[in-house]
Amino acid sequence: MSEAIVITSGKGGVGKTTACANLGVALASLGHKVVLVDADIGLRNLDVVMGLENRIVYDLVDVVEGFCRLRQALIKDKRLDGLFLLPAAQTKDKTSVTPDQMKQLVEQLKEEYDYILVDCPAGIEQGFKNAIAGADRALIVTTPEVAAVRDADRIIGLLESSGFDDPGLIVNRIRPKMVAKGDMMDIPDIIDILAIRLMGVVPDDEYIVVSTNRGEPAALAANKSKAGQAFMNIARRILGEEVPFLDLNEQETFWEKLLRLIKTG
């Protein structure tokens, strides 16, 4: 039974594309057949995050317009068996595709893949409507900031009115030290306010910057970084496993605490 999952957020720049790439890698490395669909038409990014930008021939719009067959547009990731990317078009815009066409496309992909991960563009307009059209469930990415959580709330409302009854939340870029100091909203606060199921917490991790520079998602070497591990755990939760949340607490050392007290005193 295959499943289409849309990864969305409302606000831009919170890590949707990174989450999509890493969850795709994680699910594929757990033995599933996965296709990543970049629904951000006009602002193609998933290809570079995946490191597959040099292999694009056809794109999503070409498929929808019947300019090529679906199979021709799919790029196979050589690092993992069963991982594919359907890139977005870069020269078209969101209106080149309709929700019905997206739905059809996802249905077609379901015949061949276990998981279809749709990377949703920022915003709540046509691109969002396209991205959620064929999805069975939704994951919302947010960061511990007022603006990002506010947009997540709006998205949750829109998803609910489109029939998504149990979306999951990924809190990205949490900084445990700042949380410990009381300078960043913590997970219980966010969950309490949004009243939504928590799917995962990903720490702010320099390794993500490095891995994105190289086009090698952190989950390819999950044991090398906390963020990679966190994405691997989310993938397991997607599969229905009960996985405990990572312990991200790096307590302040005595000297850090003393310095802070002196500075803020």
């Binding site: 511990p144 900031e145 007022v146 959580v149 506010r150 709330d153 709006r154 409302g157 949380v179 100091k181 009381g182 300078d183 960043m184 909203m185 913590d186 606060d189 306010i193 949004l194 009243a195 007290l261 002196i262 803020t264 005193g265």
Partner: protein
């Protein structure tokens, strides 16, 4: 310099409170015309059975999170005689 006790409120609490306020406004903002429509529909439905005092009608949301309760206070003037016969 050692005024630890006068430290400013932790910024995470400031963020949480601002967020709660802005979400309350956001969530309410989606409601106004829906409220009016709903009110009319409820009045119509109830008026088939009882005569109500539309002036004294109160209709409001209680609760402040996503889960709200709709509380209606509907003063009844009289019960219509043949309410049961209406189909």
């Amino acid at each position: 310099m050692f005024g630890w006790f006068s430290r400013k409120q932790q910024s995470k609490n400031v963020a949480r409170d601002r967020l709660k306020l802005v979400l309350m406004q956001d969530r309410m903002a989606l409601a106004p015309h829906t409220m009016e429509e709903m009110k009319d529909a409820v009045i119509m439905a109830i008026s088939r059975f009882v005569e109500i005092d539309e002036e004294g009608l109160e209709f409001e949301w209680k609760g402040n999170e996503r889960n709200k309760a709709l509380v209606a206070n509907i003063p009844v003037r009289s019960v219509r005689r043949r309410a049961k016969a209406i189909d």
